[in-house]
Amino acid sequence: MEFILQPLTLLTFFPLVGVLVILFMNSEWKNAIRWVALVTSLITFGISLWVLAQFTASNPDLQLEAKYAWIHVAGWNIYYYLAVDGLSILLVLLTAFLTPISILSTWTAVEDRVKDFMIFFLLLEVGMTGVFLAQDLFMFYIFWEFTLVPMYFLIGLWGGPRRIYAAIKFFLYTMAGSILMLVAILFLGIKTDTFNVPTMLVRLPDLYASGIIDPKTQMLLFIAFAAAFAIKVPMWPLHSWLPDAHVEAPTAGSVILAGVLLKMGTYGFLRFNLSLFPNATIQAAPWIALLATIGIIYGAAVSYAQADVKKLVAYSSVSHLGFVMLGMFALNAQGVSGAILQMINHGLSTGALFLLVGMVYEQTHTREIKVYGGLWKVMPVFGTIMLISSLSSMGLPGLNGFVGEFTILLGAFGSKAIGSPWYAGISAIGVIMAAVYILYMFQKMFLGPAGEITQHHELKDLNWREILTVAPLLIFMFWIGLYPAPFFNLIAPAVEKLLSALPL
């Protein structure tokens, strides 16, 4: 009983209750199924707030630990081990926050196999929360791989015309990265005789100092972990699965994919690469910064060239996550906390953009930018919300994106680890480019003369459900933009602790 009542256990596995209920419902009761899924995810969100209430912001260590011996036979030391700290608390909240929003967005968009959809969606939530909470590498790997399965079905079953291709590409690409990580996990597990990350962190320094794991091996391990995470982020040049997956995925899938799944990659770097392989991290920092900078510029440039608005938003993710990586590998307090905040920001603003694109797509069934035009006149509410989200995404001061990007650039400029202010300087151009492609998109779709679709379609403005879906995101955009201190306070102690362990 004690095991189940742990706050983090409840948070991770509560969606399974919804899955069980839905499993026994007739697949024709579509609305009832939707309600069960929504209520389940709302309760999960409630649990995440309860977790936040018990979380001590000033404590840099892992908290609310749920730790039980799981597989402890025959030389195995695997724990059931969930815990949260400043590095993960916001991401856990983001997951619990975005899931009900995404479910709400499918209310009319998904009519086919609603039962299966909701089951996969709730399973996905279990996997994502688990990834952010697991402190045992075996458990982490299980959750990490498991998230692929429901997402694969979400893309492959409810996606666009090329969905099967996109689903398989997504699956194989991501798996390609994680299998290398598996080998590295096993290697670490054998050398340290544990899979439990905090214990590993205690034992590793000796192994490094005594040369049992030499610097070259450390670098290889770093690369093996980085391969899994870099594909997920995705970092340039490993991003090619992303546009396909995003364009083909159903709206709710895109929201979760951009909002949470990509963060699993950046979180992985933060949680594992930085702490497990400190020397390799410092060695690799300039290279990661280089790739991140290329990603920022490349993503922005390619976004500008897109004719499909969903693809535009997808490529903008490559650019935004480049900022996250740049900030993280600045390896100073500003950079890393900026990076964590930017993960949340990207989840909010890109999530909102995908939701909005999905809403108009539901009416018109096209995403081509050039057929729209003059939308503002027909759909003023939609236009306003889109404008706010776009400005948040491009980093306008007063909205959340600015705070994140500014802190990241500040960190990257002064970073000893990166060693050159040029990366930050070039990346700053990315901010300008973001303004270009976002405003270009906005202008073509919302301003100017009415386009083909706007003229010939009876377009309805957003209804109450749709406004309710995006409103929570808007609130946070303003909150983080105007008063980010509470968020930084949650992050800061853990970041301090993480960085103090680096031999910088």
């Binding site: 402890h72 036979v73 498991f146 399965v149 492959g156 299998i179 080998v183 096993l186 290697f187």
Partner: protein, 477 residues
């Protein structure tokens, strides 16, 4: 024959007698009620299983060191007997539906199982040979059981010819080993070899044995027969053969090399390394192009032989070996369970005259029969090594053993080929879920039971693998 001798072979004796009696009893069972034979055969296996379970924790040798009883043999015997029960469950409705429900089917299965069990308990090359023949000959007949179906006959003949060829290797190898050491008992060979007996003859002998067993477990490059035989044989036979014969083959391989030839490990380890790597690579890559589900699963079974072989590579290293054996045994269990389940699904969809066996015939399965499609998805994920399935835990264990033994390269080949395998296993899932079609299935209670049970085991056991870990790690010799 002393009491100990008798006790050591007790389950085996019971099953042999049961099979002989069943052969006679079957004559009096009317043609349209062969279900009774199936029931009696299953009962025999259950009784034998009961006797085997009483042997858990017992050790000993019998018949002047010709056979042995230890944790390893008991583990394998239990696994084989359970496989036999699943084999009967899959066959029960299938052979009736295909019009081949002759009573010998079950008797032959029982005889083959006695051969497999003897293989696990062998402590002498002569017994290994005996067991090999005892397990193979009924399988040759079973492969051709759907006569006058040409494919089945072809499968039988092909299996027989190549199997006989393989047995020839084993006999020749045994002769050379005897020539080099003057004995055929494992402990005698071990003793002679470590006292520096001329090793060239011994090495050639061991290599020939390896070839022979390689045929049995379908390791590349001795795998050529597998796809044709698996495709041509009645599917229920394939299911049994691909689990049971493989388990027995690996049991023999492991025991012979680990107890008789550890002194040759410097040479043999490299060969095993290459065999494992080749088997994983060729098996997985060839599977990609298959369109027939039976051939796909055949290549998949070849590929999995490669993974299991991985556990054998460090066989001369006393420190690593216990972990490796345990990992290998664990993987055998996870493979056997998943394998039976997936063949169960194949049988459910198969129609007369070999229709319903293309992967495209699985299109639309998820919409019409969601439970069956879900089960197949579980099996496919388990084959890939994806959570939450037993296959994932098995691969984790296996790769860990390989890395701990210093074979990181092999582990990397293992994970990369797993990635390749994801492509073709997912194709089955894609067809079931994402393409439109109108498949029909046969609903047979025992088949449904076997498929559901294996699916539940595959998922459920992945959350609590402790006790299977424990069993596997105590099953050493």
């Amino acid at each position: 024959m002393t009491q100990t001798d008798f006790y050591i072979l007790l389950p085996l004796t019971v099953l042999t007698v049961w099979a002989c009696v069943l052969l006679l009893v079957d004559l009096f069972i009317p043609k349209d009620r062969k279900g009774i034979t199936a029931f009696l055969a299953a009962l025999g296996l259950a009784v034998t299983l009961g006797f085997t379970v009483t042997q858990i924790g017992r050790e000993g040798t019998g018949f002047n060191g010709m056979v042995t009883l230890d944790g390893f043999s008991t583990f394998i015997n239990v696994l084989i007997l359970v496989s036999g029960l699943f084999g009967i469950a899959l066959a029960y409705g299938y052979i009736k539906r295909m019009g081949i429900d002759r009573g010998e089917y079950y008797t032959l299965m029982l005889f083959s199982i006695t051969g497999m069990m003897l293989m696990a308990q062998a402590a002498d090359l002569i017994i290994v040979f005996l067991a090999l023949e005892l397990l193979s000959i009924p399988l040759y007949v079973l492969a051709a059981f759907a006569r006058p179906n040409l494919q089945s006959e072809e499968a039988g003949v092909k299996y027989f010819l190549l199997g006989a060829f393989a047995t020839g290797f084993v006999v020749y190898g045994t002769a050379l080993v005897f020539g080099a050491t003057g004995t055929t008992s494992f402990s005698g060979i071990f003793f002679a070899a470590s006292n520096g007996t001329s090793s060239l003859l011994l090495t050639i002998g061991a290599a020939l044995l390896l070839v022979g067993f390689g045929f049995k477990v379908a390791a590349v490059p001795f795998h050529m027969w597998t796809p044709d035989v698996y495709q041509g044989a009645p599917t229920a036979v394939t299911a049994f053969m691909s689990s049971g014969a493989k388990i027995a083959g690996f049991a023999a391989l492991l025991r012979v090399f680990a107890t008789a030839f550890p002194s040759l490990s410097a040479d043999i380890t490299n060969v095993l390394w290459a065999l494992a790597a080749l088997t994983m690579i060729v098996g997985n890559i060839t599977a990609i192009t298959q369109t027939n589900i039976k051939r796909l699963l055949a290549y998949s079974s070849i590929a999995h032989a490669g993974y299991i072989l991985m556990a054998f590579v460090p066989y001369g290293n006393k420190e690593v070996m216990p972990v490796s054996i345990a990992a290998g045994l664990f993987y055998l269990v996870s493979y056997a369970v998943t394998n039976f389940g997936s063949w169960g699904v194949v049988i459910a969809l198969e129609k007369a005259e070999g229709r319903g066996l293309e992967i495209s015939d699985y299109a639309g399965l998820a919409k019409k029969y969601p439970a069956l499609a879900l089960a197949m998805t579980v099996f496919m994920l388990s084959f890939i090594g994806f959570p939450p399935t037993l296959g994932m835990v098995g691969k984790f264990y296996l790769f860990r053993a390989a890395i701990a033994g210093g074979y990181s390269g092999l582990a990397i080949i293992g994970v990369v080929t797993s990635l390749v395998s994801a492509y073709y296993y997912l194709r089955v899932v894609v067809n079931m879920y994402m393409r439109e079609g109108d498949p029909t299935i046969e609903r047979e209670p025992w088949l449904n039971f076997a498929t559901a049970a294996t699916a539940i085991i595959t998922v459920g056991l992945s959350f609590v693998p402790q006790w299977l870990f424990l069993l596997a790690s105590t099953a050493v010799f």
